[in-house]
């Protein structure tokens, strides 16, 4: 379950500007308070350790879990008579029929034809032409490379299916999401209602709602698309809504004076002025949709997720990496294409890129070529079906031995690192959090959040903490919280080191960026086995997987923030003869404080998104509970309770982190709620 949000400076400038000098008032005293609370906590813990930890015995389940399970059973039992199930079932059937038709055109043999209506040559030509039409020639080349890679590596059908699923999902995101984005952007009340729902949609583990969705929408692509929608809708609504609400009041007032209706204002002023931001939202929704590829294949959703999972059950790392890398390539293609498409009109207006008559001619001639290719691919078998090659398998074997070699070299160090972190950091922290009586841990958490973020942090801690307590998984939550905190700290350490390095060296930046892009878009299921081989199963394996996913976002934010420090400031400090180390610690980092806070907040949320993956590699706790609920029908109630707990924990940590950041002056921008309007591509401005 990986989000593909990425974090380079976007069209909308979300990198908080380097803020003025830190406010000295709350700085040190806050940390003194936190330390004081922790010391008090440890002292009390020594006395009451092990009491009231609320640990559930192996098979003990609470009433809430039983109630959730019975509710699900009731829905299953009523499925033949339930009107809602009948309606959603019909919708599901409609989606499957439409998708089946599309498959016969592009990816699956249209019986009695031995091949689809349009063979690969025609599809590649069409896609390349579309790339030229919506973006530019460079994008067209990228599109062609991606499509040809599907075919050459033996994943043509799955690659095209993935694009079809993503396309249909994004179309639905636009239809459903735009009206909601308008509501969020124009009405404060609507925003207050919708935002928490969006938060829940983005943090609820898919494994929790996957089975119920199947119950309503049926097995296959229908459920895959509905699950994808749940995850992919929020970015467009949030970011689009933000764009609409950020349209300057003077523009609105000026046009209101002409006596326009609110519909006219929306259509003629707000939407056009918010266009760039809306496209960023759409880009993020597309990335999110793509990141559901693997999960969807648990319910027979078509696409590149299926070969990844099927390789995973054979422990075939190479064979899962090949389709995994194709997903990365697809993500990069879609990201660059949507970005370029949104910039095309603007560039053309400035007299750059393909435009005017030249464009018409190129597209016209290209169109004819496409028609010829389509015709040929409908006539000749070799132009319709890719020849069987062993390239995919060869690449998989190469990747396999490369992984083995890396694991062989790093194996010992991995073990040592795991033990150092586990014994040195995880075990003591876990023992303090999870072996304290619940009332002690809860009070300590409230006090820590008060010290960090004041009243604004206390309220969410109390509210969401109470919810967690009532759901009955307090002990598991404390285990998970320990891992989340340790993982976030490690992410920030890595982000500071690599981020600063990237900001100070153009070459390092160029070298690292593609790796970071890949880290964020490659499905976690592809690197589970290498991570297990390096570190062995357990909490550290889960943390390592979370770092692979979360660190890139944080690294890029830190790098962008540090780079945004004005050159004049650096020169001024250099003239006083500072060393590089002093320059970093006394000028660059303090001035990039806002970005650091943002990086920590984002790192935290990305780590939270990996809790369930952690459950799959031996991290126990909430992640395991979710997987258990997904795997055994009788445990669904437990899984659902664990899923809701993860949502509450996420909301709690996010709100506390934000309140804390606001007090440092490193204000986490309101726009950055949960998903940031950030995209995969490097800055183009």
């Amino acid at each position: 379950m990986s989000t593909a949000t990425d974090t380079t400076t976007p069209a909308v400038d979300t990198t908080p500007a380097a803020s003025p000098e830190p406010e000295a008032r709350s700085g040190p005293s806050r940390w003194v308070l936190v330390v004081a609370v922790v010391v008090g906590w440890v002292l009390l813990w020594l006395v009451v350790r092990g009491q009231d930890t609320l640990q559930l015995a192996g098979r003990e389940r609470t009433d809430v879990m039983r109630w959730l399970g019975e509710f699900r059973d009731g829905v299953i039992a009523s499925r033949d008579t339930n009107a809602l199930v009948a309606f959603t079932g019909a919708v599901g059937e409609g989606i499957r029929t439409l998708f089946g038709e599309l498959q016969q055109v592009f990816s699956l043999p249209a019986f009695p034809r031995p091949v689809p209506q349009i063979g690969w040559l025609g599809v590649v030509a069409l896609a390349t032409w579309a790339g030229t039409a919506v973006a530019n020639l460079r994008i067209a080349v990228l599109v062609a490379v991606t499509f040809v890679s599907y075919g050459v590596l033996g994943y043509w059908e799955q690659g095209i299916d993935l694009l079809l699923v993503t396309g249909l999902s994004v179309a639905a995101v636009v239809v459903i999401g735009m009206p909601l984005a308008v509501a969020v952007g124009t009405s404060r009340r609507a925003r207050a209602v919708i935002t928490p729902v969006l938060d829940a949609m983005q943090t609820m583990p898919t494994f929790v709602y996957l089975l119920p969705v199947v119950l309503f929408f049926g097995i296959g692509v229908s459920s895959a698309i509905v699950c994808t929608l749940v995850y992919a809708l929020p970015p467009l609504i949030r970011i689009g809504g933000y764009g609409i609400s950020a349209v300057s009041t003077s523009a609105i007032e000026a046009t209101d004076s002409t006596g326009q209706t609110s519909w006219q204002r929306l259509r003629k002023v707000q939407l056009p002025l918010a266009r760039t931001t809306i496209v960023v939202g759409l880009n993020q929704s597309t990335m999110a949709a793509l990141s559901m590829a693997i999960i969807a294949s648990y319910v027979d959703g078509p696409g590149l997720g299926e070969p990844v999972l099927s390789a995973l059950i054979r422990n075939d790392v190479g064979a899962s990496l090949v389709p995994g890398l194709l997903i990365v390539l697809t993500a990069i293609m879609l990201d660059r294409a949507t970005t370029a498409a949104s910039e095309r009109a603007e560039l053309a207006a400035r007299g750059r890129g393909l435009r005017g008559r030249a464009r018409t001619v190129v597209l016209g001639v290209g169109g004819v070529v496409v028609l010829v290719c389509v015709y040929l691919s409908r006539t000749y078998l070799p132009l319709a079906a890719w020849p069987e090659t062993s390239l995919g398998r060869d690449l998989a074997d190469t990747l396999d031995s490369a992984t083995d070699a890396v694991v062989g070299v790093l194996g010992g160090a991995g073990e040592a690192l795991r033990n150092a972190i586990s014994y040195g950091l995880l075990n003591p922290m876990q023992s303090l959090l999870a072996e304290s009586p619940w009332w002690l841990a809860a009070s300590a958490l409230v006090l820590v959040s008060a010290a960090l973020g004041g009243l604004r942090a206390v309220v969410p801690t109390v509210v969401f903490g109470t919810g967690i307590l009532l759901l009955g998984l307090w002990h598991s939550t404390m285990l998970t919280l320990t891992m989340v905190l340790v993982a976030t700290v490690l992410v920030m350490v890595i982000a500071l080191v690599l981020g600063v390095w990237m900001a100070r060296s153009r070459r390092v930046d160029l070298l690292l960026r593609p790796l970071l892009d890949a880290g964020q878009t490659i499905p976690a299921f592809c690197y589970l086995i290498p991570v297990l081989a390096l570190f062995g199963f357990g909490r550290f394996a889960a943390i390592a997987a979370a770092i692979v996913y979360a660190a890139p976002a944080a690294i890029k934010l830190v790098a962008d923030g540090v780079r945004a420090v004005p050159e004049t400031t650096l020169e001024a400090s250099r003239s006083t003869g500072t060393t590089s180390w002093q320059e970093i610690t006394q000028v660059q980092l303090p001035m990039a404080r806002g970005s650091l806070a943002l990086a920590a907040n984002q790192g935290l949320l990305y780590v939270l998104a990996m809790i369930v993956i952690g459950g799959l590699v031996g991290a126990q706790a909430l992640g395991y509970d979710v997987v258990l609920g997904f795997s055994r029908s009788e445990e669904w109630g437990l899984g659902a309770a664990a899923g809701i707990t993860i949502v509450l924990l996420g909301l709690m940590l996010d709100r506390v982190a934000r309140a804390a950041a606001d007090r440092t002056g490193g204000r986490v921008d309101a726009r950055s709620r949960f998903t940031l309007p950030r995209r995969l591509s490097p800055t183009r401005t």
Binding site: P114, G119, G218, Y298, L426, G538, S633
Partner: protein, 328 residues
Amino acid sequence: MRTSLKRSGRLAAAAACATLALSACGSSSIDEQTSENKENAAASGDCGELNMAVNPWVGYQADAYVVGTLAKEKFGCTVNYKDLKEDVSWQGFGTGEVDLVIEDWGHPDLEKKFFEGEGDGSAQDLGPTGNEGIIGWYVPPWLAEKYPDILDHENLDKYAQQFKTSESGGKGQFLGADPSYVQFDEAIVSNLDLDFKVVFSGSEAASIEAFEKAEKDKEFLIGYFYEPQWLFAEVPLKKVELPDYEDGCQDDPAEVACDYPVTTLKKVASTSWVEEGGPAVDLVKNFEWTNDDQNEVAKYIAKDKMEPEAAAQKWIEENPDKVEAWLG
């Protein structure tokens, strides 16, 4: 620069199309195959569709693709393989989306919901596959060889400290399995008073990787595992003796102190599909093979990295008598 790039791009594309078009000449055309397909369809029997759930493990794939391939080739059925977890598969019986789960390791809760009698009757038992699931506690072979007495549970405590890891809180670590399996290990550990803590791997992939790593690096590891499983071809795990299973010794989950029973793997099918009848239903009813048979196909898939269809095809060709018996 820009224009020349543009032009050369166009030219290259046109050239590529033309070359491909020329090279395609003389190869078999799509139209011919289309009419061939039509004729074949008319000639083959009327079997209809078989919606085969494919649960996520290799042994299951072996069963599914052997039966599926036969249904397709001998009776002309359209076989739709659907990659699904167990719960979703069972939910699909009632809606007609799934006709067959071909290897079931025991799901009392699902039977209660969907079997005749207790549940809505959308699913029914089609008898054993012939495979026997041997669930239990296993150690990597190097360990059994070096410390033979470890294969008796009574000696486990002697080694508990060597099984200790960062995850096991000072006790020996016992590797719990993929949550898809019903496990009583926490109860067994506590009722046999062993100095171990159950730590769940969380997935089959993690369990397999753990056993492979333990054998390779000669690490201490004990955990829940099962046969038939392709891993045994690579790492022949050794089973640890627990108190024998007796009827009823697992009735109270909290009181379990015995080994797991031998599990008879069975076929479960949608009632409506069975009632419709047809050659595929009889094929599935007749299908029965041994653990060795399944392991062989599983080895083709997992070790030789063959596609499941190809692996099934190969086994079918090599075992004509067994296949003949199922075709009735």
